[in-house]
Amino acid sequence: MPDSTLVGLHHEEEHHPELLHHFADAQQQRDASSLGMWVFLATEIMFFGGLFCAYLVYRRWYFGDFAAASKSINMALGATNTAVLICSSLTVVLAVWAAQTARRALLIGSLAITMLLGLTFLGIKGIEYKDKFVEHHVPGASFSFENEPIPGHPGQFANPRHAQMFFSLYFVMTGLHALHMIIGLGIFLWLFVMAWKGRFTPEWHTPVEIGGLYWHFVDIVWIYLFPLLYLIDRHP
């Protein structure tokens, strides 16, 4: 029934092809997309939040054992990975800016460098995991953490069962984070292909913005994981 009244208000020729009917303008459409992504990220915050909560409880209970276990992880690799992720966050924000300002070469280049940095992160993570396997620090039947001194308490040694709790949290939290990185790489590969085909314009580049939000979120998780897992009690 309302069709006849609405037809007169509809100016098809003024529509940008990427603007969907139910949005007033491109700005509203972009805001709706980023709002949706933020709601998803809110669920991700609670997802990781549960793990951080478990970590805090056990760290309070077994502080000395956690400190001893944390000391066995390679801090230099963790710090390097933090820097790698910060660099990738810069290239992501450059990619979004390039899409906004129609700089195709910068967009494609930034997306490519972001993927390279993401792969570098995973490679370094793999070296770290390999060290843990070699040292029998992976929770399970072959786990071993004997005679490891507790920092700041001479003559005291970590309880292997408590240390195993630390390594369980270490592998689950960094593993879940690495899974997010892998998914992020998939998203960025798709963005790269789309950018290569020239699909993004200053009017419509929502996927770059949304994918960027996801990547930055994964970076923020690492910003907390690094001090919590690698730097518990490092002073000599």
Binding site: Q27, D31, S34, L35, W38, V39, L41, A42, I45, M46, G49, G50, F52, C53, L56, V57, R60, W61, M75, A79, T82, A83, I86, C87, S89, L90, V92, V93, L94, W97, Q100, T101, P202, E209, G212, L213, H216, F217, D219, I220, I223, Y224, F226, P227, L228, L231, I232, D233, R234, H235, P236
Partner: protein, 99 residues
């Protein structure tokens, strides 16, 4: 700086400033971990991490310039519920041994 979508004002300076602040923050975090600050080691590490996360959220994720207020509301609501989860859990475990 005006809105990030404006083509006249380039936000690049701000992006690089945040980038260097994040790198410096990482350096300070690693350095502070080698100092004996007693119980403040964790507070310093988490404080710097929170400053870094805030910088990423506000400037890299464009929350500062978000034109839609609902976005800011979702961010604040998510943090509120995270703090509720961590705060209430830890206030329980921290007070269990009180006699």
């Amino acid at each position: 700086m005006s809105a990030h979508s404006s083509s006249t004002a380039s936000p690049l300076k701000g992006y690089f400033a945040v980038f260097f602040a994040l790198l410096v923050g990482t350096g300070i975090t690693v350095y502070a971990a080698t100092l004996d600050l007693g119980r403040f080691n964790a507070a310093v590490a988490l404080g710097i991490a929170t400053v870094k996360a805030t910088l990423v959220t506000l400037f890299f994720m464009h929350v500062w310039h978000a034109s839609e207020k609902l976005t800011k509301l979702v961010v604040i609501a998510a943090l509120f519920f995270l703090l509720l989860l961590l705060g209430l859990t830890m206030s329980d475990y921290a007070t269990r041994l009180w006699s």
